[in-house]
């Protein structure tokens, strides 16, 4: 349905997005994953015709949107990263305003507003001023506004940042339902692995403007099939131990968190004896050493040597 071809966007010297290739089929939920500044927002601004690419093309049903953006604009429901609402107006007034912008009127508009308030669970708060809403409620309304005109393709830019777990689950469930019941195609950007793992059929992972991995969840996890992730826990981690892990040629990645070190090693190597030996030499008391089933987080770690959220 939608295809991004060698898409790049350059801001002065910086490539926000570099040679991005992507495709989205009708009815899919596609995840776009990456840390801050990866270029997610820039990418979706280009694919929704809001920003012109420096080079490359976006094709919708095989026709470039650069010259003629109106076909794609008609089917997009956009959920911007920020709260794109009039916060001085009530929930209902916001829906009415954006509904009118989409040329909805009278009974049709009224019915649509009721339907959406129901969907996002704000029916009994409809008269309240948005400014007084919680973060989660604002986020829900931010999504609701994008659904007024029954879009075929809904694009969500980090729709769950800074909200409570309940609201977050509510939103994730809602997105899934929209996809299943109304066959909406969804592009979902996030820097939360769990969300993308839960929602998406296919995933694109970006970092610093580059696409670093793509495929179905399983395909991506298979990147790690030649390696395994081991988590070492200890109350008093010391530098000697960490340094010696880093020196070890068989260990390809060492990530230190408080009381926890994550290392990546080739699958065939039994690293346990080596770890125990190093711990003893460093006079370190270990709490546990575990092999972890790989997650997307690990893939990211593997590909970039950095944690997704640092």
């Amino acid at each position: 349905m939608l295809e991004l071809i060698d898409l790049s966007k350059k801001f002065k010297q910086l490539y926000a997005v570099k040679n991005l290739n992507m495709f989205i089929e009708k009815g899919e939920i596609v995840g776009l994953l990456g840390p801050n500044g990866a270029g997610k927002s820039t990418a979706i601004s280009m694919l929704s015709s809001l920003v012109d690419p420096t080079t490359g093309d976006v094709r919708f049903h095989n026709k470039s949107i650069l010259k003629n953006p109106s076909p794609i604009r008609k089917i997009i429901g956009m959920v911007p990263q920020e709260i794109a609402l009039y916060t001085d107006l009530s929930a209902e007034e916001n829906l009415r305003f954006f509904g009118r912008i989409y040329r909805l009127k009278g009974a049709e508009l009224k019915q649509k507003i009721d339907e959406i308030l129901e969907l996002i669970g704000l029916t009994d708060r409809r008269k309240d001023i948005v400014k007084k809403f919680s973060g989660g409620m604002k986020r829900r309304l931010n999504i609701g506004v994008a659904l007024l005109h029954n879009p075929e393709l809904i694009i969500m830019d980090e729709p769950t940042v800074g909200i409570d777990p309940q609201s977050r689950n509510y939103i994730l469930e809602t997105v899934k339902r929209l996809n299943e019941e109304k066959q909406m195609t969804v592009i979902y950007t996030s820097h939360y692995m769990e969300e993308v793992e839960f929602l998406c059929d296919r995933i694109y992972i970006m970092d610093q403007g580059n696409l670093i991995a793509s495929g179905t969840k399983d395909e991506i996890k298979r990147i790690l099939s030649a390696e395994k992730t081991i988590v070492i826990k200890a109350d008093r981690l010391n530098d000697i131990f960490i340094e010696s892990l880093r020196q070890d040629p068989t260990i390809s990645s060492v990530t230190v968190e408080e009381k926890k070190v994550t290392i990546i090693v080739p699958k065939e190597i039994n690293i346990f004896p080596a770890v125990l030996k190093l711990a003893e030499e460093a006079k370190l008391e270990l709490n546990s050493v575990d092999i972890k089933t790989p997650t997307l987080e690990d893939v990211f770690l593997h590909l970039t040597g950095r944690a997704l959220r640092d």
């Binding site: 001085d88 954006f98 912008i101 506004v145």
Partner: protein
């Protein structure tokens, strides 16, 4: 577009506080600083010949908005001048007058001109009375009424204003502070309303609208109309308060004074669009607006009259500041009684500035977003 405008008006009505604060501040400052009669220049006046009473000379002098001709004895007049309590005094004789100058200032010429004008008017009337054979007071009154009617409703235009000498300057503090603060404070109201454009662009409201069937120009037009409307409403309220509550006459040209605010408000909306196009963040905007508003007000003569500014640089700078022309048109209309054609020049400059700044501002905003 109507929908966008209505949403903004709804928000405006719901949160009128900032707007009201600006109105109250303008009125407060204008009253406080321009208030009282102390700012009208007192001219101690000795009537040497009782025949002056009841003549047009007395009427004209009493009607002067810039000077307060205060009658007193000859000794008192001389005393005041000698003690420096007054710059100038006048003595009025039947067919002649004398100006006593304590301190040389531009006001001397103006007082002279005012009194001279009054006497020449008196002479004119007397000749008319003679021509019309009016001897009794009631006859004279009738001729005078006819004359005034004729002047008010001219078949051909009579240059009736004494103040019009090419280098005559009237500095009436009441008007000056009223106009100055009105023009100054409205910059804030307008600028903050225009600034909503930037907020809407940053938070994605614009993206939503661009993707919708509504067009981008509708956003610009609606924002422009809204900012213009609130700005104009503010100056209108202030002028209405001063006209009907404080009782300032605007030289009998109240309606015109309101009309000439339109090009000024327009140019300030445009200036705000330009600034919004240049700044990048809310913080920058909040820092820049007071600086621009205050320095423009100083350069453009909103706080003190440009006539007392001698720095060449400041005078040159004043030529590029909308406030200068805003003050010029208001003073022209309310104090000098100019007609529209006589203030066409400053009005055109304001409109031109408006068009140019709007153009550049929108261009900058568009360029940055892409």
């Amino acid at each position: 577009m109507i929908g966008i405008l209505l949403a903004k008006i709804k928000i405006f009505i719901r949160y009128p506080l900032t707007f009201l604060a600006m109105v109250v501040m303008s009125i407060g400052f204008a009253l406080l600083i321009g208030g009282g009669n102390g700012n009208v220049i007192n001219v101690p006046t000795y009537i040497a010949d009782e025949a002056i009473h009841g003549t047009v000379v007395e009427d004209i002098l009493n009607d002067s908005e810039a000077f307060n001709f205060e009658t007193m004895s000859k000794d008192e007049v001389e005393d005041k001048i000698a003690n420096g309590k007054a710059e100038i005094g006048v003595e009025l004789y039947e067919g002649d007058f004398r100006v006593i100058v304590g301190v040389e200032s531009p006001n001397v010429g103006l007082v002279k001109q005012t009194v001279e004008g009054a006497y020449s008017k008196k002479l004119q009337y007397e000749q008319l009375f003679a021509a019309a054979n009016a001897t009794t007071d009631s006859d004279k009154e009738a001729v005078k009424t006819d004359l005034e009617k004729a002047i008010a409703d001219p078949v051909f235009s009579i240059q009736a204003n004494n103040f019009r000498g090419s280098d005559a300057v009237i500095i009436d503090n009441r008007y000056h502070t009223l106009f100055g603060f009105t023009l100054f404070f409205v910059i804030y109201t307008i600028a903050y309303n225009v600034f909503h454009i930037l907020e809407e662009k940053n938070n994605g409201v614009w993206d939503r609208i661009i993707l919708s069937p509504a067009r981008k120009w509708e956003m610009y037009v609606a924002n422009f109309m809204y900012s213009f409307g609130t700005g104009f409403l503010q100056v209108l309220i202030i002028f209405l308060v001063f006209r009907f509550w404080v009782g300032i006459e605007f030289g009998g040209n109240f309606g015109k004074a309101i009309l000439v605010l339109i090009p000024y408000v327009f140019s300030i909306v445009a200036l705000s669009i330009l600034i919004t196009g240049i700044v990048k963040t809310v913080q920058q905007f909040n820092a820049v607006i007071p600086i621009i508003a205050v320095s423009m007000a100083m350069i453009g003569g909103a706080f003190w009259p440009l006539e007392i500014v001698s720095s060449k640089l400041m005078l040159v700078l004043s030529k590029v500041v909308p406030i200068t022309y805003g003050m010029e048109v208001l003073n022209g209309v309310a104090i000098y009684g100019y007609s529209f054609s006589e203030i066409l020049y400053p009005i055109s400059i304001l409109l031109l500035m408006g068009v140019v700044m709007t153009g550049i501002g929108i261009h900058l905003m568009e360029k940055r977003h892409v």
